[in-house]
Amino acid sequence: MDNAQLLISGLANGCVYGLIALGFVLIYKATEAVNFAQGDFMMLGAFVTIGLTNTEYIGLPFLLALPLSLGIMAALGYLVDRLIIRRLFGESQTAVVILTIALGFVIRFVAGLIWGHEPQTLQNPLAGKEVRFGGLVLGMEDVAVIVVTVLLTWGLYVFFSKTRLGLAMQGASQNQLAAYYMGIPVKRVQGLIWALAGIVAGIAGILFAAKGSVDPTTGLLGIKAFAAAVIGGFGSLPGALAGGLIVGVIEPFASRYIAAGYSQIAPYALLLAVLIFRPHGLFSQVRVKKV
């Protein structure tokens, strides 16, 4: 029974990692760039929602604050692309990587300035409720996290593989110039994808803040989500979720069954192993380029 409990809490954590990883993958899939600030986006999403909902700030009703904060995050994602990333159009990937790391620093600083450095929790209607399921005690938030994540991943997967816009996004990343020739508005598509990544980060942030507390350094969780995205294979949406779940489940089990000190290494050791033996992730989409 203990193991089942560990598994469930691991899954719930893993879903949050998976959601951040989803943000990485979204942007990577559509623009072939990696947003190292995705973790900080999530932290910001959490703080925006806290700022709107919690009684010590604005104190809006939860259901009103939810779409509002997601809208703010979408606008923010779009603005980041419009004002900063788009100027790098056609530059190397490394430039984008370094830029987004710097962006993460700035977001962390701004969030600390506005909301302070104390850990805070989101006041939400699900807090404190439990579901009993055959001897298992599940927090309502954990259930919500799992359900929302699965739905979101499925929705995004369908969006990318079935809709016109989704296919246009994939095309834009596979070959920018060819996409232009085919009449895909590459820049606008990029802006949309950043807005979408902002929304996903916002959802991840809300779920995370409902489950536990956030402070400006929470964004560093992004590194773990990064491991998740790599383990799943960059460029695969279900892979990102799977990677997140793997990392999330390994953590509680490692801290229980492996000596202290070694346990926090587990996700990174797995990451290194995956990179060494399957360099493009478990759900690989890359073939070696032959000249």
Binding site: G90, I98, F109, N175, L177
Partner: protein
């Protein structure tokens, strides 16, 4: 504008363009070497710090600036250099032997890392090295019998020919030690860049496919680049340990790795000057901020307010500004200004315009 009249082919590969340029650099070197006489101890310490960071930056520059492999994990190699230096000294090895050995060991560590890393490109390599850097923190804690774990280690000073060199006791001599290492590394770097090996580094950076077509062994080149880069970084790590005096697992955190990479980007990727210019920004930014905070506080009339994370926030903004407006960093800006003066009034805006490339995926499914 000066025009160098070339009379032999050797002039093309000489490390300096002409006597005038050589003179300028020698004067600069003499000025810096005389720093203990015209700087007080505090700023001398800061200058030493800048030089140590510059050496580390040179190390990363070999890999990132000239071979094009972005590494987010060089703090791990700083740690390897620092700890191996201290452990060797504690084992009774004299500093003059332990110091190069520390570099050698770090180089070997670099090769070990390079073997799996060779298969990785761009972002994957960045993530791989990032994970290494995160792991190094834990490894240092776990290897407590050797590294001292969380309690860390302490190194007061080192003996060179029976003469104690210590950061606090004899800051002048410590400064000269660091300066000497910096000069040797820089000269080695300049020589590397005009050798076939250095050229093949640059070829790999600019296009792996073309380099391969021209007969460059990519795997070997990358491996050597990793080894050299890590060895130099290891030397910097050893000096950093000496400079800090006491250090533990948190001294060489992921943040240091990221800072190091950002430093060479601000300075200018792919130029030796860039490592030094970036180090100056990194080294003096905290001092500059605290001074300007006092200044602003005095104007507003309130006492100085502490803003946590300000340094990193400003740093991030500077970096974003550089990547957007001057991707070649401070050295690139300097080149433009110099060319403007040299060509006056014939400088044109698009002279340094870079060719844009359109992106193609490596994913085939």
């Amino acid at each position: 504008m000066r025009i160098v009249f070339k009379t032999s082919y050797m002039q093309d590969i000489r490390p300096w363009k002409d006597g005038y340029q050589l003179c300028l650099y020698l004067i600069l070197l003499a000025m810096v070497a005389a720093a203990p006489w015209w700087l007080d101890d505090f700023y001398l310490g800061e200058l030493t710090n800048v030089l140590v960071w510059a050496i580390a930056g040179l190390g990363l520059m070999i890999l990132t600036g000239h071979t094009g492999q972005a590494s987010l994990g060089h703090a791990a190699f700083l740690a390897v250099g620092c700890y191996s230096n201290v452990i060797l000294i504690e084992a009774g090895v004299p500093f003059l032997l332990a110091f190069p050995l520390a570099g050698l060991l770090t180089g070997i560590a670099g090769v070990t890392v390079a073997i799996p890393a060779l298969r990785l490109h761009g972002i994957y390599l960045a993530i791989f090295t990032l994970a290494l850097s995160v792991l190094m923190d834990d490894i240092i804690v776990l290897a407590e019998p050797i590294t001292g774990g969380v309690a860390g280690k302490y190194l007061g000073g080192v003996e060179i020919f029976g003469h104690l060199v210590d950061r606090w006791g004899t800051p002048d001599q410590f400064f000269w030690l660091v300066l000497g290492v910096a000069v040797i590394v820089t000269l080695g770097y300049i020589n590397l860049l005009r050798s076939p090996l250095g050229r093949s580094f640059i070829a790999v950076r600019d296009s792996e496919v073309s380099a391969q077509a021209m007969g460059v062994d990519i795997a070997r080149t990358k491996m050597i680049s990793f080894a050299l880069s890590c060895a130099v970084t290891g030397l910097a790590g050893a000096l950093m340990g000496l400079y800090a005096g006491a250090f533990n697992n948190e001294t060489f955190s992921v943040i240091i790795s990221i800072q190091l990479l950002m430093m060479i980007v601000i300075g200018g990727l792919g130029s030796i000057h860039g490592a030094f210019l970036g180090a100056i920004v990194i080294g003096f930014l905290p001092q500059f901020l605290s001074i300007s905070k006092e200044y602003v506080g005095a104007i507003i009339g309130s006492n100085t307010v502490a803003i946590p994370g300000l340094e990193f926030g400003i740093f991030g903004v500077i970096l974003i500004a550089f990547i957007l407006f001057e991707p070649m960093g401070m050295y690139g800006r300097w080149l433009k200004i110099r060319t403007w003066f040299e060509l006056f009034p014939f400088y044109r805006k698009d002279m340094f315009k870079r060719q844009k490339s359109y992106l193609k995926t490596e994913r085939l499914r």
